[in-house]
């Protein structure tokens, strides 16, 4: 186990209200992120992901407990020293007033430069390195406002990297990005963590992607409990399924997929193999049928569907039989038969 870059020790997060009242979101948390670890914070909306992240960044005061970065207590170091330890990418839009990519990334050097903000040689080298690591070198001269969302997000990561922090914290880093860009940025961040030894902590709404890329997960539930562990362990212990059950999502450990809670539908038996059979099952499950594959020995199925390569389908239902050339056609007929 590598040394802890982020240590959370007896931390209580939440808000101070007027008249000495407090709204606690999670209490007595003890968590850690090791050097070079890519950790993803997951949890349902409103469970307190952002509050925890903001507290780790020092943007919000903890109600109790400590956050240590590289062994240093966040509450006891200066803002400038904190900025040298911790780089942040936030969800808020950056209104760039015509800043170029180079200018924006250079601002990451602010905790290192002297009063005028002039970049010394090593500052410029750090900016170039950050641009290279995020593959944004090619548009260093462009205006930030002209970039696509994916490019802009990478530039913001570059800005945080230019700070040369040992810890990088990113909030909702995949928001507003299409699937390809989401995968791209998660891969980028993961390889950054592994190559540079920086500790990365980020939140995302993309559960699937998080499970596939994270070294470790922090899972916060509605009760303010945070569970940590490697993704596979959290799946096997049922923690993942438990946290999201209340959100109307069922996690199926066998398929590795989240399923929506749907009313239990009629049983349908699918006979056949190959890709066509898999997607037939997909279509039926999407419509809420309970699907049994051939050989299950189901005798009380409402209907039986034979899948042929081609593909084509034969639907046998109590005493009728019909042939279909598309799944849409098949499912329409099936729904008509069930009287939906």
């Amino acid at each position: 186990m590598s040394a802890a870059a982020i240590e959370i020790d007896g931390l209580t997060i939440g808000y101070r209200l007027p008249r000495r009242q407090e709204k606690q979101i999670a209490s007595d948390l003890t968590l850690s992120v090791g050097e070079g670890q890519f950790t993803v914070l997951l949890g349902p909306n409103g469970a307190g992901k952002s509050t925890l992240l903001r507290t780790v960044c020092g943007l919000q005061e903890p109600l109790a407990g400590r956050v240590l970065l590289g062994g240093k207590d966040l509450a006891e170091i200066s803002a400038r020293e904190r900025a040298r330890l911790l780089g942040v990418v936030l969800t808020e839009r950056v209104d760039t007033w015509g800043l170029t990519v180079w200018d924006l990334v250079s601002l990451g050097r602010a905790p290192h430069t002297r009063w005028s903000g002039r970049l010394a040689d090593d500052d410029e080298a750090a900016v170039v390195k950050a641009l290279s690591e995020t593959d944004t070198r090619d548009f260093a001269g462009r205006k930030v406002s002209e970039l696509s969302d994916g490019e802009k997000q990478r530039v913001l990561v570059a800005r945080a990297l230019a700070q040369e922090p040992s810890v990088l914290v990113l909030d909702e880093v995949t928001a507003f990005l299409d699937l390809a860009r989401r995968v791209e940025i998660m891969q980028l961040l993961k390889s950054l963590a592994h190559a540079s030894g920086k500790a990365l902590l980020l939140t995302t709404h993309d559960l699937d992607l998080a499970l596939r890329t994270a070294d470790r997960l922090w899972m916060i539930d509605r009760q303010g409990q945070v569970h940590q562990g490697c993704p596979e362990d959290l799946v096997l212990t049922g923690t993942l399924a438990e946290v999201f059950r209340h959100e109307g999502l069922d996690y199926d450990p066998a398929s590795g997929r989240f399923e929506l809670h749907l009313p239990e539908g009629e049983r349908v038996s699918v006979v056949g193999s190959g890709v066509a059979a898999i997607w037939t099952q997909h279509a039926l499950e999407r419509l809420g049928f309970q699907v049994h594959r051939d050989g299950d020995g189901v005798t009380d199925a409402f209907a039986t569907i034979e899948v042929d390569e081609g593909p084509s389908w034969r639907l046998r239902c109590s005493n009728t039989e019909s042939a279909h050339s598309t799944l849409e056609d098949l499912t329409h007929e099936l729904e008509r038969q069930t009287g939906r």
């Binding site: 960044c57 020092g58 943007l59 200066s78 803002a79 400038r80 020293e81 904190r82 900025a83 040298r84 911790l86 780089g87 942040v88 936030l90 808020e92 950056v94 209104d95 760039t96 007033w97 015509g98 800043l99 170029t100 180079w102 200018d103 924006l104 601002l107 990451g108 602010a110 905790p111 430069t113 009063w115 005028s116 903000g117 410029e124 080298a125 900016v127 170039v128 390195k129 641009l131 290279s132 690591e133 070198r137 260093a140 001269g141 700070q163």
Partner: protein, 367 residues
């Protein structure tokens, strides 16, 4: 560094020359043009008026050579020179003031006149005149330099009061609401000025109404000396704040994660802006639009958002605009009805509408 190193993708990024990625800085040519046009407008200010004086003679008068018509010496040195110097100083001051406000409030429409700083500064001056007047009408006149300084300080405090109100308001409202609030509070302050004037002697109020409209005419050398000292001091402070201003472009939260004490820095910046607006208003009255025009023209002209460029550029453009507007007012018109603010409004009004139409007003005023 050689071309070959740059063209291949080196595995070690630190060996790359930053110069290949860094956008070229602002060249000498735009700066030269800018300084040149300021100098040109300044000389025209000295040469042009009801009496036209050849530039050659303006030069010889300035460097103290004989040869020019005697009467011209007085016109250039006693009338036009202090007016031109005041125009340059006030313009530069308001340009920088506008830039500071725009960045601090993250509001591209911020301007000392729109934000009511100019009128709250006038209120400060009015109160100062009344209070010092109550110690005997001659106090102001006899104090000389001290009274000029007092005027500027009172105006600065007045402007500071307004910026404090707006700073408290800014996180809660949008850009346009803030702008309108400043505008309306400014009008309220202007109304209070009239109320305060009610308690002054006739002579005092006459002196006061003399600059109810902005003008650079009534500023003598001694007053200009006070003005330029205050403005120079405030410029020095602005230069010290360059890095903070750049970091503030990213918004409050990012600025904080970069180690900036955001609240304190904002208070310092608006205090400097209040001093700049106050000093100009104390001596020149309410001058409009320069604070919004100069920084935007600077951004367009230099295509930069970096305050190391924008600060001097806003100062130079503000100076040039102020002097140009003043020059047009003092052209040998057959009838004299042009006012400084009218000239500035001709350009400034449409510019603000253009900014609004381009969607600047819909941005968040504060992150």
């Amino acid at each position: 560094m050689s071309e070959s190193v740059l063209s291949e993708r080196s595995p070690s990024p630190t060996t790359l020359a930053p110069e290949s990625l860094k956008p070229g800085g602002v060249g000498a040519l735009p700066w030269g043009l800018m300084v040149g046009s300021v100098a040109l407008v300044f000389l025209l200010e000295l040469a042009v008026g009801v009496v036209l004086i050849p530039l050659r003679d303006v030069f010889s008068i300035l460097v103290g050579l004989d040869g020019a018509v005697d009467r011209w010496h007085r016109i250039v040195l006693d009338f036009r020179l202090p007016r031109a110097l005041t125009a340059l100083t006030a313009g530069a001051s308001l340009g920088v003031c506008g830039l500071l406000l725009q960045t601090t409030f993250r509001n591209p429409l911020a301007d000392p006149w729109f934000f009511g700083l100019v009128y709250s500064a006038r209120l400060g001056v009015a109160l100062f005149v009344v209070v010092s007047g109550s110690f005997g009408g001659t106090v102001l006149a006899s104090l000389g330099l001290l009274s000029n300084l007092g005027l500027a300080i009172a105006a600065g405090l007045g402007a500071l009061a307004m910026t404090s109100v707006l700073l408290a308001l800014a996180p809660r409202v949008g850009a346009v609401t803030l702008l309108l609030s400043g505008l309306m509070l400014g009008q309220a302050a202007n109304g209070l000025v009239s109320v305060v004037m009610h308690f002054t002697s006739e002579a005092q109020s006459r002196a006061f109404t003399q600059w109810s409209d902005g003008t650079f005419v009534h500023v003598g050398f001694s007053q200009w000396g006070v003005l330029v000292s205050i403005v120079a001091l405030a410029f020095a402070c602005s230069v010290m704040l360059t890095k903070s201003l750049n970091v503030l472009l990213l918004g409050e939260n990012y600025a904080r994660t970069l180690g900036l004490a955001v609240e304190r820095t904002r208070r310092v910046i608006v205090a400097v802006a209040a001093v700049l607006a106050g000093a100009v208003t104390a001596f020149c009255g309410p001058v409009a639009f320069l604070g919004i025009l100069a920084p935007h023209l600077a951004r367009i002209f230099f295509r930069s958002a970096d305050h190391r460029v924008l600060l001097p550029a806003s100062a130079l453009l503000g100076a040039a605009l102020a002097a140009l507007a003043d020059l047009i007012v003092h052209l040998p018109w057959s009838r004299h009805f042009l006012h400084l603010n009218a000239m500035l409004g001709l350009v400034g009004g449409p510019t603000v509408v253009l900014l609004l139409l381009r969607g600047y007003g819909s941005r968040e005023s504060s992150s």
